[in-house]
Symmetry: C2
Subunit: 989 residues, 2 copies
């Protein structure tokens, strides 16, 4: 064997020689010239591409749909079978599964790209061929090849025959061919040498299969097709390669799966035995064709060299995965976001400019790494105009053009779910606050006033405000203020309603002053720190309130934990008649029961009285079951957590694999409605007397001794009108802060609002509504953070993903006034909906509250950072600020925020709650002090920069990169850009 081995070695050497000779023969070698030396090597390809791409930039090239068909032998017959397609990502036909694979990133081998390059170098390239049918095009290609001596003329018919075989697309029902087909195939064997024209299997017009293909809707309208045909045949001994660009995109009969006109055609026929390699080359050209930059090149290429340059550029930008760290069999899911090709294209027009400045800094590539987060831009909405009502004027000017679209854009299925969701939130809020206000003001303002006020204030605000996505509602601080005010007026014998009216009027005027002087300007100093602190706090309050309500139900319906089923006979509760000797206090009690109807007490059958009646008539309840209520507390618990968890689960359902995307989206959008319905149904099924939502049914003030209108004068001394200026100031600050910070949160950049906001206009209407509500004796209303966020969340739009595999992008929010108006109209109408609403158990609504609170926490960076505390650093998500700010600084920042919130929470629990919104000012002061603890770099990542710092930074930037100022802005005329690119030195040295 040693002898054989040495022979083998000789053979090896011989082959090595052959290779060296072959190498020498390859003349047109394009090399990746590595920049070994310090010289800047300009690449030929770059020059070429710069020429091509800067030519007609105004005409965008159409999107390309690429289909790859491979030649297959089905029995005796040859046919082209679709094996993959590309819109943006690759979809492969699963041979065995007879179906499309999931769209995935095309992973290529370097080898196939190089082979493709050689193919284009040696094959026929026909650019701008006049083609009207496939046979003619194929004739032209073969003619050219014969002319150039690449194939012998006797192959003409064989090649033509093969290329005109029928194309079978994945849409067609597979395989089990009809009898007719079999008959046909027996008459025409693949060996047949008849005229190729008569052997043309391809129809001239697209078939109905093609026209009916549903895939069409995934392809943009202006799309053109590129067809890749690869296959192995037995009569060739060297590959037959052609790349064709048609002068006009033409529908070539049954060639393409969808009736899209073909612009490009790539044909590769080769000798047998290398089908896999041909396939890979086909995939490579198909992937190239859907590459934004290469398709540009392909459309504009003047000759073969341009195409080669395009491949070279592609190769240069390619991302390489090491073979040991990645399994090529894994299909890579399309990424959430792909880089825009514009950046790659811009290299070819602005390259030298960048180069020029590049070395000036001396820091090499580092500067590029040191990207800063985007600026926190509040835009011109909050600019200080310095003119009287300047801000208000601008607000109106900005919002007026959107007015019509504010209405017609509301007509969408999503609006229904949003309206239902927010409506339920609003009436729950109205009832909760109505009840509390009624307690606080001895029913001067009760549930009725709450409903009416919510409906009135909300609909007026949604109609005329600057930001109709904001939902007005009663808020805690106002409630506390009313309570204090009522107590004060009762103790000092001042008429509460009249005092309140004057405070409202003053406050309204103060709001007008704030509007006229553009005072909302101060909001610019509210950074993410303040915003997130405030909104987290409000969310926590929501969550804690919801849970408190649940706990209250356990107190309200105590469970008899000592109940022994066997001793059921010992549990009773009896009403005993009062001792006659105690009849004196009885009469006193009468005073507290104004609607008491005198009865002959002794004549009563005490044992038949209900608990309420018994107590009313002075009886006493005796027995071991009197103070217990069975089942209701536990049922409330089940309804509460059931509603919450079902909503959370259904919301997440959007990301599951089940059901079509649209259905899932519908389920997710209506998740709250569906959970409410489910648990209302469960509650009805069980039939327990759980506490239900009760709305007033009669349209009259809760307190019978007041009318709908409050008179401004008459009951209080004259000085009260003036003195009420002082409390009004507090109310104004309270309202201003509460309203504007909610507005800032709603207008966050993340929400991608397009119609602008109107801080001044909003405040104006809040002021007006203050006065109006005071006159009718309704509660005062301000923006409610959590419900407003819920409103926005339920109106979020996502792009319908166009190309298969492309991730839907968050586009923005359905900004319109319809949902808000409908919510409040429904709230008003609710008085008549009482028979329906009375089926809704309160625990279900508290579950919705809990969900609202939790949902508004998610997506807050502060909350993400709190979670970081519990994660080992290696498991932490790849937040951009974690790449740039040391973890301990991040933790310190979070800790300060938590401390602030804890302090606020404690203050809120005391009587200081009334100045709660004012405490936001405190947060802003803390933020200001953070400038001393953290570097501006850290703060830019974790928070936003304060206006003055930002300005300073910009100035610095200006100073540093003064020469960059010369750089033309992207929107400058491209004529100038092109001139620049040629007028600059190509090399620095």
């Amino acid at each position: 064997c040693i002898v054989r081995e040495s022979k083998q070695l000789q053979k090896h050497r011989r082959h090595t020689l052959t290779i060296l000779i072959l190498k020498a023969q390859i003349k047109s070698v394009e090399l990746y010239l590595a920049a070994t030396d310090n010289e800047y090597l300009l690449r030929q390809e770059e020059l070429r591409l710069r020429y091509i791409l800067s030519e007609d930039d105004d005409m965008p090239t159409p999107t390309l749909f690429t289909e790859m068909d491979t030649l297959q032998r089905e029995g005796d017959e040859l046919e082209w079978k679709e094996s993959a397609r590309w819109v943006k990502f690759e979809e492969k036909v699963e041979e065995g599964g007879e179906r499309w694979s999931k769209p995935h990133v095309s992973t290529l081998s370097l080898h196939s790209l190089f082979e493709l390059r050689t193919c284009l170098q040696t094959g026929t390239v026909l650019l701008d061929l006049e083609g009207y049918s496939l046979p003619q095009i194929i004739d032209d290609i073969i003619e050219r090849q014969i002319e150039e001596g690449m194939i012998s003329p006797d192959l003409r018919e064989k090649i033509s025959f093969v290329l005109l075989r029928k194309h079978r697309h994945q849409t067609k029902k597979p395989i089990h061919r009809s009898l007719a087909d079999i008959g046909k195939s027996s008459s025409s064997t693949s060996e047949c040498h008849a005229q190729s024209r008569s052997m043309n299997d391809i129809a001239d017009a697209p078939s109905t299969d093609q026209l009916k293909n549903k895939f069409m809707k995934k392809i943009p309208r202006d799309a053109e097709a590129s067809n890749v045909l690869v296959g192995e045949v037995d009569f060739l001994n060297r590959p037959f390669v052609a790349f064709v660009r048609l002068a006009q995109a033409t529908t070539l009969g049954g060639l393409t799966e969808v009736p899209v006109p073909t612009r490009f055609l790539f044909i590769l026929l080769g000798p047998q035995g290398k089908a896999k390699s041909y396939n890979e080359i086909g995939r490579a050209i198909a992937t190239l064709m859907v590459d934004d930059l290469f398709s540009d090149v392909a459309y504009k290429a003047r000759d073969r060299e341009d195409l080669i340059a395009g491949i070279d550029e592609f190769l240069d930008e390619v991302i390489v995965l090491p073979p040991g760290e990645w399994d090529p069999k894994i299909r890579i899911e399309p990424p959430k976001k792909v880089p825009s090709a514009d950046k790659r294209k811009s290299v070819f027009s602005l390259n030298e400019l960048g180069q020029m400045n590049g070395t000036a800094g001396g820091g090499g590539g580092l500067a590029e790494d040191e990207e800063m987060p985007e600026h926190h831009e509040l835009g011109e909405e909050l600019a200080f105009t310095g003119r009287f009502c300047g801000g208000l004027y601008l607000d109106i000017k900005r919002k007026l053009p959107w007015l019509p679209s504010d209405f017609y854009e509301g007509f969408h299925i999503q609006s229904i779910s949003a309206v239902l969701f927010i409506y339920l939130g609003c009436i729950t809020n109205a009832i909760t606050f109505g009840g509390l206000l009624g307690d606080a003001t001895d029913n001067y303002q009760g549930v009725m006033e709450s409903f009416l006020g919510t409906a009135l204030a909300g609909s007026v605000f949604c109609l005329f405000s600057g930001q109709p996505l904001i939902i007005l509602s009663s808020t805690g601080p106002i409630l506390i203020f009313e309570k204090l005010l009522y107590d004060f007026s009762k103790n000092n014998s001042i008429d509460y309603m009249e005092l309140r009216l004057w405070i409202g009027i003053h406050s309204c005027l103060q709001c007008f002053i704030l509007v006229a002087t553009d005072a909302s300007y101060i909001i610019r100093y509210m950074t993410r720190f303040t915003e997130e602190g405030f909104s987290s706090l409000i969310s926590f309050i929501f969550i804690s309130d919801a849970i408190k309500k649940l706990i209250a139900s356990f107190k309200y319906y105590p469970i008899n934990t000592n109940f022994k089923p066997d001793y059921v006979t010992t549990y009773k509760c009896e009403c005993l008649a009062p001792d006659p000797s105690e009849f004196i206090p009885w009469t006193e009690r009468r005073l507290n029961w104004p609607n008491y109807v005198p009865l002959n007490v002794t004549a009563l059958d005490w044992s038949q009285l209900s608990k309420g009646e018994c107590l009313k008539y002075g009886g006493s309840l005796v027995g071991n079951s009197c103070k217990y209520v069975p089942d209701l507390a536990l049922m409330s618990f089940i309804l509460f957590f059931g509603t919450y968890s079902m909503t959370v689960t259904l919301k997440k359902f959007k990301f599951s694999r089940y059901f079509p995307t649209k259905l899932r989206k519908l389920i997710s959008d209506f998740s709250i409605f569906m959970s409410i319905m489910t648990f209302v149904g469960l509650d009805m099924l069980v039939g327990l007397k759980t506490p239900k939502l009760i709305v007033p049914t009669e349209f009259k003030p809760t307190r019978p001794d007041r009318g709908w209108l409050v008179m401004p004068i008459g009951k209080n001394p004259w000085w009260v009108c003036l003195a009420s200026f002082a409390p009004a100031l507090l109310v104004t600050i309270l309202i201003f802060m509460d309203q504007q910070i909610s507005a800032v949160i709603v207008n966050r950049k993340e929400n991608k609002l397009k119609k602008g906001c109107g801080y001044h206009l909003d405040l104006f209407w809040v002021g007006v509504l203050m006065a109006v509500c005071s006159f009718i004796g309704l509660p005062w209303y301000v923006a409610a953070t959590v419900i407003s966020i819920a409103h926005i969340d339920s109106l979020k739009m996502e792009s319908e993903s166009s190309a298969p595999g492309e991730q839907p992008q968050f586009l923005g929010v359905r900004e319109q006034r319809m949902t808000g108006i409908l919510v409040f109209v429904l709230t008003g109408v609710s008085i008549f909906l009482a028979p329906v609403l009375k089926f809704i158990p309160m625990p279900v609504l508290y579950g919705v509250f809990l969900y609202m609170g939790v949902a508004s926490l998610s997506g807050i960076q502060f909350w993400d950072r709190i979670k970081l505390y519990m994660m080992p650093s290696k498991h932490q998500p790849d937040f951009s600020y974690l790449r740039h700010v040391p973890l301990r600084r991040v933790h310190l920042f979070t800790l300060i925020q938590i401390t602030c919130l804890a302090v606020l929470w404690i203050l809120k629990s005391t009587f200081l709650a009334i100045i709660f919104p004012v405490m936001i000012l405190g947060l802003m002061v803390v933020r200001k002090m953070l400038d001393m603890v953290f570097s501006q770099h850290d703060l830019a990542w974790l928070d936003d920069l304060l206006p003055e710092k930002e300005k300073k930074k910009k100035d610095d930037d200006k100073k540093k990169g003064k020469e960059r100022e010369k750089k033309p802005k992207p929107d400058d005329s491209e004529e100038e850009v092109r001139n620049m690119s040629f007028c600059c030195p190509l090399q620095e040295q």
Copy 2:
């Protein structure tokens, strides 16, 4: 400007010329020779690599740890700062974040790889350098470069100075340098031209920081380091490149982050302005160094050309992502599995062999795609030996050597959780079945017998069986059999216990016959279809039983849905004395109450009696609250779903990001225990009288009139002993099927059991226990599928991931006898644990049952396929069978399975339940018929092939690929492999 433009064009042309000249100069060009023609072009690199890699394959190369340090200027001082490290995947130092990034796949640019290639071509390559310290090594490199005229001698000191700067690793506390440091730096400016030796900043011995580095445990013991140093300096005008391999791996002081000896050193110093490009080259070489194949090449390379060939091979295997479809900024998470480098290596030894057969098929690359699923191998355990007790002998022979390890491997923290989990499952089962058996047999077998039997049978089985992971338990079919048997014997006045004893004896003997004749052989015909059908059915029964229990609690504790809290006074339940005229039936009733103590009925205070007493003495309950029990049903509901959902949530917690991996694993392992504890706690807190787990406390038969031992003769006629052969046969089939199918499920290949199984041994012991239990009058026991699966699941082992980023792999199951034995010992002891166990509410245990049922469903392919019905095909997971079998065939297969199960479910609900395990035979028949509906290809993917088909297929394969038979198996001596590789023709044509 036109003039300027044309000038520019001239310049362009001049540059183009320069490029062409440059190109011509590059002589040693290694090209990717595309196979344009039909010839097979053997690549030079391949020859080289084949030489290198086939050299000393017996000495495995050590794992390489690669560290990349970049030169940074910190104030006035230069230092090397660690910027990334590789064990298998890349971890980058986040500059701003001052921490390690997550391990990710290194995405390289093609450009940097080519540049690296040029670097190695032009730079200094020193292989097997004798190096003992960094200064000496650097001296040698510089010396060589000066010798070769690559640098001028006056640069020697500058380069040496730079290369000997201090290295700062990421472990060190960052930045805020001490005063001492500042003092030092002021004395030594970077412009310093002193002797480089004195300027050596690197310590000779590793620092304590290095030694204490916790990262060490992530690096394999035999690892060696490769250091990559890249940086830009101002004194060079062309790059200074060196690649060094040391003859001996040496610890070079503070060079490496961890005290791992350095083997390779790559140095790239270049002129300023291209730091980013140098960085990328450094990343490229680092990635190459951790590539299994390239590191082999690097260890074995004889010269520069070998390294180049290694890069070329790497380039050839590289996976390319198109720039338009992937954002290079995305860090790709390490894949679940990476392809083994052995495959790549084997190409170099077996390449031609593959090639030879490749073209023979004619189908090109298709054959490779057409991979078949792995065979379903039941192994030799089920081979038909043909000898008496041959299988049993082999089982014992196989299991005996594992016996010691079966004990000591049980000592692991995971065992505790497994024991607790299975123990609770077992006693719940024992109580449930005990209760049912008691009902069915008038307490001849009750809860006490159930406990004792479970403990006895279980521990004996776990001690001696072939597969100790199987848990014995009472099962449904046996229960039904006992019920029928008892009814039969009662009706025919035959003594039940004696009859049962004889059936047990017969059945035991029949089992022995089955064991002796290797009858378990039949199990080979049980495919995935049968297995999964059976186990899904059992899981469904578990789930439905759990839910039935819950519903029963609503019947047992009816809720008074009409309860109105206000009318609490009207709810009562009173015990009324019976009508004296009805006293006659009273005396009859006495018979049914054997422990009745005569009482003076008329003297009773009826209103003081409990419900039970009242009914006992013949009173009647009157009142509207008599039939209701408050709270208990709802509380049971909360406990049931609470336990279930908490267990599910905690199980999933392993995959969350919070807390360190170990803690999460602990939480996940103890999830069931923790949920049980939580809800037992909740139940205690609420204090309701929920139904609790009650275990017998006294050690005596449930029925007082029977002793512990059953006499074989005496009570029944003699022929009963013989006639009981017939029912015994039914029991034997029942037990055989139930036992063996559970065993097959437990021994599934997916579970990666290593100690083999013992079907015959298992059956032997089940038979023995049958007889023993019959003698003591205990229930009969067989393998319980669901609990056994739960047992296995709770003992699963995963690899501690070694390299950062590597996914933990499922290694197998902790196969031992300790957990099983402990479970059953605890079950036996439970009689004394009654005071503790009585706190556990039954609904909590039913929740655990529900979890067990659901958990055993997941991971079953059948279940996955059912889910496919609800998924649109584009969202379906990438199951391998979906790639190979058309979806409608998959659906058809699933539908048939569902139908079979539905039929079985219906049968199970009738009296036919007794032959339930026999119906598995029916499933096997259905499976046999499927051969007619589905192709063997489809069945191979969806199911397994039946033995005869498999054999036939193998025969076919043999016929088809006869020449492949020659192909040496991987475990053949490699000498032979090498000979083969040289004795085959290199080219086909």
